[in-house]
Symmetry: C2
Subunit: 354 residues, 2 copies
């Protein structure tokens, strides 16, 4: 495990004394070459292991690198190579737990590749996506990862064209964008939601609300389709049972309040996210209804919170770690980066709420 205790912080960089340095500026490849008594080309070669160098020279270079604490200038490298070493991650809304967790794993995956993560939070705003597209070309990014649940497809064509032209690797997480030639890593949405709703039907529920067909959310709509399929097959579909009012907690809360105010009969709720489900539980409790006795609730995504609600939340699992690992492989083995679709499974996590 990681060292996470107080004392561990103290080890930091303190160990060892910094070599004395003549000038204030960082050492460059020229300084290294001079000190090692070789040419710039040789230094570059041993640094990048890009060609065979005799052991003697290699050792001299290594020694000089050490002595001078040489660090290659990433911007110079990038300028020369034609692209930087940073990958931009566009997230739909970092305030949603699911996106925060994904961000965490993507960052560490990228780090394994020696790449940096540039974070750009969309906050569900189309205008911000447009802004990013305008800024991106100047950065000469190595890649762009689209982790967005909104239906951004219509505005994607120019980005794809531009990316191809400039050699930026594009990837999507959470939404299938393979029809644009973008390799995509998604979770099972429709089938998972369908199975969950089928289970509720099997348990005898027919008045099952769906909360979370968020306007403009591609992923939310996808989940909704699974719900609809199951409900229609059971002859239980009713448009009045579908809610798409707002985001996150408020969506769940407001939908239930509205339903109850209308006197709507309701015995179960399939949420489009765990936050939505948590909001729904709060509203139910406010009205004196019990979960799951009066109304059963199922979430979507299995965020940490769910296990600590009471009743604990029944939900559908997700696998951000796996998604990030697939992403790494995608950036790693550049050869096999076809516009593949990777589908991660979701399974039902049974807890107390349904």
């Amino acid at each position: 495990m990681m060292k996470t205790f107080s004392n561990a912080w103290q080890t930091g960089l303190s160990e060892g004394t910094a070599p004395s340095r003549d000038s204030l500026a960082s050492a460059t490849v020229i300084d290294v070459a001079r000190r090692a008594g070789v040419s710039l080309a040789t230094v570059s070669r041993v640094l990048n292991a890009s060609a065979v160098v005799s052991p003697e020279l290699r050792d001299k270079v290594s020694a000089a690198v050490q002595a001078l604490e040489y660090r290659p200038n990433l911007m110079a490298q990038g300028l020369r190579k034609g692209h930087s070493n940073t990958v931009a991650l566009l997230v739909g809304d970092i305030a949603q737990r699911h996106f925060a967790e994904l961000t965490m794993h993507v960052q560490s995956s990228l780090e394994e590749l020696g790449a940096s993560l540039m974070l750009y939070n969309l906050g569900h705003s189309a205008a911000r996506l447009k802004d990013f597209f305008a800024r991106a070309p100047a950065m000469r990014l190595r890649g762009i990862v689209l982790a967005v649940s909104d239906g951004i497809a219509p505005s994607l064509a120019p980005l794809v064209t531009e990316a191809r032209r400039s050699g930026v690797t594009l990837a999507a997480i959470g939404q299938d964008l393979t029809r644009f030639g973008i390799a995509s890593i998604v979770h099972e949405e429709r089938a998972a939601c369908r199975r969950s709703v089928e289970r509720l039907l099997t348990l005898g529920h027919t008045r099952i609300a769906y909360v979370g067909r968020i306007k403009g959310s591609a992923v939310g709509s996808e989940r909704f389709r699974g719900y609809r399929t199951a409900m229609k097959a059971a002859g239980a579909f009713d448009d009045a049972l579908v809610f798409d009012l707002a985001f996150r907690y408020a969506a769940g809360h407001d939908a239930i309040v509205r339903a109850l105010d209308r006197g709507m009969a309701l015995t179960a709720v399939q949420g489009g996210s765990d936050e939505i489900a948590a909001g729904a539980i709060a509203a139910l409790r406010d009205r004196g209804l019990r979960v799951p006795e009066d109304v059963a609730i199922v979430g979507f995504g299995d965020i940490e919170l769910g296990a600590y609600l009471r009743p604990a939340l029944t939900t559908l699992s997700s696998h951000p770690t796996l998604a990030a690992r697939h992403l790494r492989d995608l950036f790693d083995g550049k050869g096999t980066t076809r516009a593949d679709l990777t589908v991660l499974p979701r399974s039902l996590v049974l807890r107390g709420s349904a």
Copy 2:
């Protein structure tokens, strides 16, 4: 408000036709100069408004920039200027809601400055901090923002030295690092926690547990000191009432379970975070205890979740938006960037749990 609806995404970049382009490569300042019939220097001057240029030439350059869809290469600019335009944000743990929200606001603040956010998640790991320190010099960062609750102070000296040498702007959010000459933006921790506990004492509680003096957490310890001050003043301090077992939800849950297993008398809990408080509520409910009737609970930080717990969580407010704004000013007005301490207030948010 932002456009957040389905249709808004369609406007994107689709409007207008892309200018025809001869070559596949992006236009450079040379292309612009050639097309405008001026020198590179002139192009650079109008682009950066760094010197007076005659109106005629300025217009010619602007026209060429438009026509060629010219975008300056940020890496070339950075190489020449000696530093990039990206600011690294080191967060303690992006999976904690508080950090995710902060990240969101810092990103947009930086964006206003035309800078990019490089995200580096520490996950409470000392080893990762060290890794970052090793990688950072190569990036020639414009700034580094430390948003870390752990007690990183001991390993900071080398970073500070290196930063001064290379001209990187350092800033801290959440932890007072001014003694290292680092401008810091913090929230009131000790006083806020003291006031909260004093209120519980006033309400008649004496057996008030503190959960969240997380090992190695500088901020957690700071909050704890406020608790201790209040408890000692009331003659109610008891070491057995202090818990620091784990992180996040589990910390609150496990602490209560352990306390109850020991048969400890307990009428109130001050949590070191809202997640901890939520975990505590779950544990209490598992044991058939009512909140707030049997045990009152106060959180810390006012994350969105708190308003949707039942009972809703009484907690102490925080102001990530303000913090991000202060940070922007700090990076903006480079002149006034002394190692100032900015303290943001926390107020009691009274809801149902205490």
